[in-house]
């Protein structure tokens, strides 16, 4: 592996030259990072693939396209609501209707306008009408079931008031509680209680000054052991881990190749760094290779000097699509073109892989192939914060040069202990097999839920291994009706629309948990079936033959698309 050590170890001053192959020629293409909200996605309907020998490298991922009439009706719905939006804006401007949004005072009318009305058109005229489906207050632990507070709105969602009643035992299909560690069982939390007694709650300092506690060091060691890397660094906030560490790794004169559907924290970090950003199509290796070749051949835009660094930024599981990154292909490309890889495992750490080690384990790769491994503790570990892991020189460099590491407050002791106990549980270091059982239960729940949904006829996106299941709803009216209907049946779901998704692909996102029992899943599936029939949501045109066993293999060899 001598070849790879040369390309992996990042030098602290970041002056690494990339080898040029061939001579310079002028390139006319230089795209800056666009807005990831635009519908640039290439939706290809991969049918079912027959099982092949390299099965672990080619999990079936489906992005089925809906029939044409669905797209037409979606646009129709949005068009009509937009027209009514203009009508209502006109009424507000004329004064026939009371205006609930922020307005300038009469005396300020001649000044430079403070509020740009048009930018908030969508919020005012669509989101406000239906915002009772979001930001619902809950009043219990967000475990597999929770309690939702009931609220009413007398003026069509401009203001809310709580009735005082709660809707109890709503099945929670929205929390990122993949391994069920969001629990308040006193036995499991004994160590957390002891640590709170010992250290208190606040640290009141940064890690560099007085805030470096012994448990922080212990956690960093444990994370490094868990991931199979040399060293790791803990940060208090997951979003800040991305947005504050990428600027420390790359700067001007470097190139970032980021996936189309990367999370906002990655985009923010990339933009803050000042590097050139180029976007490749989601999970599309040809697009990535083309960009890499172009970058290596032509170099920086005007001067054609070689790029100081080329970094590929991808995520383990993309939370809006449920798709899993094609890690073996990316690692092969990265070694061929001598680029660095930054893997954000926010959703995949703990949730995929036979022992919960993330996508590296899922594909059977060596963790030292990936230069920077990043993840968060918010999802599978039931805590808060993030980590960056990799080679010792990288982590030592980041400890002094990353804004978040230097300036942000250290992680709170109970949170640190929660992560420690969750991680020890997953690794089996506490002497029980609870962790492994949970990881396997999650995988089983995932396969069961996905296969049943596909049989029912819903359009599901994503890889069969990912516990994030987006069901496509498409039309704005149906999105809202779905959320309300499911709450009426005591199931809490998260629905997502524009601008977090492309405008024609509104969806409901289900996050499965190891804490969901089969009875809960069956209840959810039963209600989904009824609501799906009631609202006509079953757009899939595939026929599935009924299978006797629904857990183990999901090769989808027995489905075909009908047109």
């Amino acid at each position: 592996m001598a070849r790879t050590t040369l390309s992996i170890a990042p030098v602290p001053n970041g002056n690494r030259k990339i080898q040029l192959n061939g001579n310079h020629f002028k390139s006319a293409i230089c795209k800056k990072n666009g807005y990831h909200n635009k519908a640039q996605k290439n939706i290809t309907s991969h049918g079912a693939r027959p099982p092949c020998s390299k099965q672990r490298f080619q999990r079936p991922e489906s992005f089925e396209q809906a029939p044409m009439y669905v797209a037409v009706m979606t646009y129709l719905g949005f068009g009509i609501v937009t027209l009514f939006g203009y009508f209502r804006d006109f009424l507000r401007a004329v004064g026939l209707e009371k205006c609930h949004i922020a307005r300038e005072r009469e005396e300020q009318k001649d000044f430079v306008p403070l509020y740009q009305d048009f930018e908030n058109f969508y919020t005012r005229n669509l989101y406000m009408r239906v915002r009772d489906s979001w930001n619902r207050p809950i009043c219990s632990l967000p475990g597999p079931v929770f309690d939702v507070m009931e609220r009413v709105s007398p003026d069509h969602n401009w203001t809310f008031s709580l009735t005082g009643k709660t809707i109890d035992n709503v099945i929670n299909m929205g929390s990122y509680n993949y391994l069920g560690f969001a629990e308040n069982n006193a036995d499991f939390l004994k160590t957390v209680e002891d640590i709170t007694q010992q250290y208190g709650l606040g640290v009141c300092s940064t890690r560099q000054e007085m805030g470096n506690l012994a448990i922080h060091e212990e956690l960093e060691q444990l994370v490094a052991t868990f991931l199979g890397v040399e060293s790791s660094m803990i940060l208090g906030m997951g979003f800040a881990t991305n947005s504050m560490n990428i600027p420390a790794l790359v700067g001007k004169g470097c190139l970032i190749l980021s996936d189309e559907l990367n999370h906002t924290s990655l985009i923010l970090g990339a933009r803050l760094s000042g590097a050139t950003i180029r976007v490749f199509k989601h999970n599309n290796m040809q697009s990535l290779e083309r960009l890499l070749r172009e970058a290596v051949c032509t170099g920086q835009p005007r001067t054609h000097r070689p790029w100081k660094k080329i970094m590929i930024i991808v995520e383990g599981i993309y939370s809006m699509e449920g798709s899993v990154v094609r890690l073996p292909d990316i690692v092969a490309l990265k070694m061929k073109y001598k680029a660095y890889l930054y893997l954000d495992e926010a959703h995949s750490i703990g949730a995929v892989g036979p022992t919960g080690r993330g996508v590296t384990e899922l594909f059977g790769l060596d963790p030292s192939d990936i230069d920077v491994m990043m993840g968060t503790f918010t999802k599978s570990f039931g805590a808060a914060g993030g980590y960056i892991a990799g080679k010792k020189e990288l982590v030592d460099y980041l400890r002094s040069y990353s804004h978040s590491a230097v300036y942000s407050s250290a992680m709170s002791p109970p949170v640190t202990e929660q992560i420690l106990r969750a991680m020890k549980c997953i690794m089996g270091l506490d002497g029980t097999t609870i962790g492994l059982v949970r990881v396997q239960q999650l995988a089983e729940n995932t396969h069961y839920f996905r296969s049943r949904l596909q049989e029912m006829g819903f359009i599901i996106y994503g890889n069969d291994d990912s516990p994030v299941v987006p069901i496509l709803l498409y039309m704005p009216g149906k999105v809202v009706a779905f959320s309300r209907a499911m709450l009426k049946r005591k199931i809490g779901v998260v629905v997502v629309g524009f601008p977090a998704t492309p405008i024609t692909e509104a969806r409901a996102r289900f996050c499965l948990s190891a804490a969901h029992t089969k009875a809960m899943l069956d209840q959810v599936l039963f209600d989904l079936n009824e609501v799906g029939d009631d609202l006509c949501l079953k757009f899939s045109r595939r026929i599935f033959s009924p299978r006797p066993q629904q857990h183990n293999n999901n090769d989808d060899a027995d489905s075909q698309i009908i047109d």
């Binding site: 129709l76 719905g77 009514f84 009216g477």
Partner: protein, 82 residues
Amino acid sequence: MRMVLKYLKEYLSWLYYQYLLITGIYVLEPWEQSIFNSVLFSSMAMVIYTSYVFVPVHVCLALEFLSGICGEQPESTMALIN
């Protein structure tokens, strides 16, 4: 009899619900829904009335025109030869 009526009413209200969802009217306030429904209903009524009044006349004229062309042709060539 009452069951059939009830079933029919339920089915019609489900159809109306689908119409609300598909056109996106579901998210609007009731008075806006009434405006949209009345506009749509009146325009559909006008379309139907216009088609009822004018389409038969136009179809007859069109057929006459077409049969006129087909009927005339052999007569004129005979006239030319003679």
